[in-house]
């Protein structure tokens, strides 16, 4: 709970505490007995919210219960002396337990059972005697070791328990057994709930008792008792944790109280009690989750008692009471929110704290009006001494009900005493505390502006209690926000109060800053006396004391003067003001004249200063802070050579500031960081007004200057408003006068070292020194990583690290420097090469100036040639597959694409693993061949498959071509191309056919056919010779052949042509007997091997 400021209206702790059923524990020796200690700790420690709402109290032997008042049989002659007795709650929650629990160590099978039972019974008896008259319940807990008794004694326990109940005269349900071995906590919680039940029962009984009294009461004399009884019922129900019934009774108590006649003498008592009951009501409503009802209850409560002011001399008590009602409600509300109630922006505790603060302010006003005469405390006897029995009664007339003051003098003294104490009371402290609570609530519930207003009120309070430093701190923070939202009226209000604080606290820094802002056109000052403020600034500069602010409390002024005496000639002598964040009477705009400056140019900055307050101002110094990557410099600005600058009110003054750039700043940006205006009166004190330029801040002009001057009577100077600040400029290198000539034979061919020569010509006015040439590749859109595929070098055939660098040293005026670099690309692409020349030149105005020139050149890379492959059989017929151990010919075709003539130096084919050369490694057919664009060079290599690979081979092999440009001797390039693959197949037999290519007519020639078995099993074939009309033949027309494994069979035929020309000779056809799987392959093999065509020559007769 937030700590609330205390005063006489504070609620007593017993009202605030949550009522818990009181349970007395007796017979526990927590000091000497470890088991008892453990039991007590389990009851009393770590009481979490989920445990029963009870409070345990350890009763020792000397504990005395309050004496019971004799029962009244009739209320006829009884006149109550007050409403609520102060000690009643205390008795209920501390002294009279609902249940007394007697703990006793005893085992059922105790050998001295009879003695034990007697002792226990006597203890119970003594407790009974002690609580005599109260209805307090008694229960017995037998503490046992918890070891399970032997089965034979199960019955014994029940019997003896019964015997114990009888001996102690308790009901069996009031007897408990507590085994202390294991699970103590579990047993304790169950016991606790049982006690809680008994306690509830007890409180229920008590309420019944009280209800019985009601019939004896009458409204005329016992109105107080109606309130008291209902209040007691409410409280007992609260102890019983029956919240809604409690609320009902409290409500009755409240309405009964309302019916009570109020006069000045009992006013204080009635509203005090009403406050307590209302507090209980609201608390219960929050606990019952009825926050709206709680709020409504408070509202009607305040409404009802607002007009019951009481005696005028003690008016402040009334306001103090209302303030307390609000603050206590705020606390309840806050607690409820912390317990999970949602608060909203329009309904949260902050409002109630705020009300509390407001009524405390009214309390102070009332005090001022009624307590002016209470100059000192009345002489003894102290009228406020003495104790009262009832809440809200006056110590000087306890228990008196009559309306007229009994002892007028005593009454007078008492009022004086109260008034005097009120005068001494720190109202501001209390208001500040309430406001503090309210501020934090408003912050939580998204009300920043409400919070600001309260902070300003808080600052005012600090001001009233002469804590100017704190007030000033708060106000300067708030000023910032009002200024930002342009609520100038409010800002002015805050600023004027802050200025008063700064004056009274003699804080020179704040005083000057606030004064400077007060001169702004937006700020209104009291009596519109800006001249005084301006004079004050000048006084501080001259080390004299400024004139006081108007409307200061007279009491503080002399103190302020003392402070100023001390401060005026002391540190800080330099007062720096950050002008960007405040609104003031000076405005500054600065701009670079150009967006870009070259190194050899002079940078010019224009600074415009506008003085909006009508006066003339002597500025001692004006300087500009420029920052670059390397340094930050301050450049003084003069007014045409005159360092003393005078500004005229309402006018804009323009200054030009020139400077040379630092040679290190080439290629970077310059920023205007700050413009400072220094006011100085040669008396040590200086005011430095800094107009800082934020890097990130975008200069926002809400109103366009064009619009601003569209209206009839322009509000400000057109020129000044139109200036768009430009606070950044770039410094670039000086213009370079070198030229570069690049020559090369483009396009370059893929894979070659391509030479490029360049020539640098010095066109500068003088020689250049330390020339460094850097050649590098530039990443472009179509070639993102040029250095990964392209090599650069000064020498062909040898790659060097990139970028290439070479130092050319000194180059004289009008002379040249040439060099050549090579590049090699493994990809066809566009390559951009950058040649960067850095050199140092000595210019008359700028020695050792570094200049940079960059050139780029583009190189296109193309393919020199394209290689395609053809596969042909040994008869040069195209084939689509080959057989194992069957020769065929690979024919790479080189198609020249290069526009330049090429020389093919050599070629070779590296066959893949599953292939072999048909002969020994053959020499190239196209070596030393000069070719031009669009020529095709064909090579041929005989190859055979060694075995059938698992997957069809993707390539036959790598084809290496060594070539170079034919027009220059030198390095030749070796390009490698993969030749496409051809499927390899297995055939169980291979076949060789020998036949002549050309035959003479009618000449018998042999046709020999050899069959080889390639498998481990013999293969049976049925062979048929298919004859043709062009031939006669001799041999088996049809026969069965068995080809043995890894062996051969020869078949010989004689054929004789009958016609001339191209003829088809007889062909053998084979059918595999048995296995059909190989049929196709064998058939293909025979088709391929047997000649399609034999040329027959006519026979010439000799």
């Amino acid at each position: 709970m937030a700590t609330q400021p205390s005063d006489s209206t504070e609620f007593p702790p017993e009202i605030i505490l949550k009522p818990l059923a009181l349970i007395g524990l007796s017979g526990l020796d927590t000091i000497n007995n470890a088991v008892h200690k453990a039991i007590w700790d389990a009851f009393s420690n770590n009481r979490r919210a989920d445990r029963a709402s009870v409070r345990f109290k350890l009763l020792n032997n000397t504990f005395e219960f309050p004496v019971v008042k004799p029962k009244r049989n009739s209320y006829e002659w009884y006149i109550p002396k007050g409403i609520l007795k102060k000690n009643w709650i205390h008795k209920r929650v501390n002294l009279i337990p609902a249940v007394v629990v007697i703990f006793y160590d005893m085992e059922w099978n105790d050998p001295q059972w009879n003695e034990k039972i007697i002792e226990c019974a006597s203890r119970v008896q003594s407790i009974r005697a002690a609580v005599e008259g109260h209805a307090t319940r008694v229960a017995v807990v037998v503490v046992q070791s918890g070891l399970s008794p032997p089965p034979s004694e199960y019955m014994l326990g029940a019997e003896r328990a019964q015997a114990l109940c009888a001996a102690c005269e308790i009901q069996s349900k009031s007897l408990f057994v507590l085994p202390h071995s294991d699970h103590l906590m579990g047993y304790i919680i169950r016991l606790e709930n049982a006690f809680y039940d008994i306690a509830q029962n007890y409180y229920h009984h008590e309420t019944k008792n009280i209800k019985q009294h009601r019939d004896h009461l009458n409204k005329t004399t016992h109105q107080y008792l109606f309130v008291r009884h209902q209040y007691k019922l409410g409280y007992l129900n609260e102890l019983k944790q029956d919240l809604s019934t409690a609320h009902k009774h409290y409500m009755h108590a409240y309405s009964n109280l309302l019916e009570t006649r109020t006069v000045d003498t009992n006013m204080h008592e009635i509203r005090t009690v009403a406050g307590y009951i209302n507090y209980k009501l609201c608390k219960l409503l929050f606990a019952l989750n009825l926050p709206r009802d709680a709020i409504a209850q408070l509202k009607s409560h305040i409404e009802r008692y607002k007009s019951r002011v009481g005696p005028t001399e003690l008016l402040f008590e009334h306001y103090a009471w209302i303030a307390r009602q609000y603050s206590a409600f705020g606390e309840l509300f806050d607690e409820a929110i912390r317990a999970g109630l949602p608060g909203i922006q329009s309904q949260h505790p902050g409002f109630y704290y705020q009300q509390a603060a407001q009524f405390t302010t009214m309390r102070r006003q009332a005090m001022r009006s009624v307590c002016c005469d209470a100059m000192q405390y009345p002489p003894p006897p102290d009228p406020l001494e003495g104790t009262v029995e009832f809440y809200g009664q006056r110590p000087w007339r306890p228990g008196r009900l009559s309306a007229d003051p009994h002892y007028p003098q005593k009454e007078q003294a008492a009022i004086l005493a109260l008034q005097y104490s009120e005068r001494m009371f720190n109202h501001s402290g209390m208001i500040v505390s309430f406001l503090g609570s309210a501020i934090s609530q408003f912050k939580t519930f998204h009300s920043p502006r409400m919070r600001k207003q309260l902070v300003v009120e808080m600052a005012n309070e600090y001001y009233y209690c002469n804590d100017f430093g704190k007030a000033l701190t708060l106000l300067s923070h708030m000023l910032w926000d009002y200024r930002r939202e342009k609520w100038w009226f409010l800002a002015s209000h805050v600023l004027n109060r802050a200025l008063q604080c700064a004056y009274l606290a003699a804080k020179i820094q704040d005083y000057i800053q606030l004064s400077v802002e007060a001169l702004s056109k937006h700020i209104q000052v009291p009596n519109n006396d800006k001249e005084r403020i301006f004079r004050n600034i000048m006084s501080v500069l001259n080390l004299t004391i400024p004139a006081p602010e108007p409307e200061l409390p007279a009491s503080s002024q002399s103190k302020a003067l003392e402070l100023w005496q001390l401060a005026v000639e002391k540190e800080p002598f330099v007062i720096a003001i950050d002008m960007v964040n405040i609104s003031s009477f000076l405005e500054v705009k600065s701009k670079f004249k150009q967006q870009i400056y070259r190194m050899d140019e002079v940078v010019e900055v224009e600074v415009y200063v506008r003085l909006s307050y009508v006066t003339s101002l002597e500025v001692k110094k004006l300087f500009l802070t420029i920052s670059s990557k390397t340094e930050t410099i301050e450049i003084p600005i003069s007014d045409n050579g005159n360092t003393l600058i005078s500004l005229v009110g309402g006018k804009v003054k323009k200054f030009i500031c020139q400077f040379k750039t630092n040679p290190n700043d080439s290629g970077t940006d310059l920023y205007i960081k700050n413009v400072s205006i220094v006011l100085d009166s040669d008396r040590k004190r200086k005011i430095v007004m800094n107009f800082k330029v934020e890097d990130t801040k975008i200069v926002e002009t809400a109103v366009h200057p064009e619009l601003l001057h569209f209206i009839l009577s322009p509000k400000a100077d057109y020129e000044f408003d139109c200036i768009v600040p430009c606070t950044t400029t770039s410094i670039t290198a000086r213009e370079c006068r070198l030229s570069l000539d690049v020559s090369n034979a483009c396009p370059a061919l893929q894979g070659e070292w391509f030479p490029t020569s360049f020539t640098v010509v010095n066109n500068e006015e003088s020689q250049v020194n330390d020339m460094l040439i850097t050649v590098s590749l530039v990443s472009t859109l179509d070639n993102q990583n040029p250095d990964s595929v392209t090599d650069l070098s000064w020498k062909p055939g040898q790659s060097q690290g990139q970028p290439l660098k070479i130092s050319a040293g000194t180059v004289n005026k009008n002379s040249t420097y040439s060099n050549k670099f090579y590049l090699k690309s493994n990809r066809t692409t566009n390559i951009t090469v950058e040649i960067k020349i850095v050199y140092i030149i000595d210019l008359p105005e700028m020695p050792k100036l570094e200049c940079v020139k960059e050139f780029t050149t583009k190189v296109i890379v193309i393919k020199p040639f394209e290689v395609t492959t053809q596969f042909v059989g040994m008869n040069f017929k195209p084939i689509s597959k080959c057989f194992v151990n069957d020769d065929f010919v690979v024919m790479p075709q080189i198609k020249i694409l290069s526009p330049w003539d090429l020389l093919i130096v050599d070629t070779e084919l590296d066959v893949a693993a599953c292939f072999d050369y048909g002969d020994s490694k053959p020499s190239s057919c196209v070596s030393n061949l000069e070719v031009a664009e669009k020529n095709v060079a064909s090579d041929a290599v005989c190859v055979r498959a060694k075995y059938k690979p698992k997957d069809p081979p993707t390539r036959v092999g790598l084809y290496n071509i060594t070539w170079r440009r034919s027009n220059f001797q030198g390095h030749s390039v070796r390009s490698t191309t993969a030749l496409s693959g051809i499927p390899v197949d297995d055939c169980p037999i291979s076949l060789q056919v020998n036949y002549p290519e050309i035959i003479e007519l009618q000449t018998s020639v042999p046709l020999k056919c050899t069959l080889f078995g390639n498998t481990n099993t013999p293969i049976r074939l049925c062979l048929t010779l298919e004859g043709t009309d062009a031939y006669m033949f001799s041999g088996y027309k049809r026969l069965m052949v068995t080809v043995p494994p890894h062996d051969k069979v020869d078949l010989c035929y004689n054929i004789q042509p009958l016609v001339t020309g191209n003829t088809t000779p007889p062909r053998l056809k084979a059918t595999v007997l048995g296995e059909a799987a190989n049929q196709e392959v064998v058939k293909e093999m025979f088709d391929k091997k047997f000649p399609q065509n034999i040329f027959v020559m006519p026979k010439y007769n000799k």
Binding site: Q345, S346, H446, S447, P448, R449, M450, Q453, E485, K486, W487, F489, L490, H493, A702, V703, L707, L708, F710, I711, L712
Partner: protein, 155 residues
Amino acid sequence: MAVCVAVIGKDNSPLYIGGVGNDTNTDNELSRQWLVHTALDALEERLATTNTNTANSASNASRTDLRDLYLGLLYSTDTHKIYGYVTNTRIKLVLVTSSTSPSGSNIRDAEVRTALRRLHALYADAICNPFHLPGEQITSSKFDRQVKNLLLNNV
């Protein structure tokens, strides 16, 4: 009856604050400005919640069109009731009535709505003046007269 009206710009800076009667008393003006200024809290909260609602719905544009410009009672204190109205360009109109005077406490919602709509129209007329600078305070004496008239006659 209405105690004062205010026109507040979209950056929350005051454009016009006018009250009934010609009291130029500083304290009066101050409390009036505090009232209007703190009403911005409630206004902003309202706007923030309606914004999230409209952002959730798919038909954002149509929702904004349908949005009622009149926000109703923003909050009430013991002495005053404060009503809000937000134009589509985020110009906020605030009307403060006194809840202590009988005519002020019995004021009907519809009456306030009408008054704020008329104030909106007056504001629109005022800024249509080509010599008015958008974003600047409204200094037009005609507007001032019309607003005071509105306060006295209608609310």
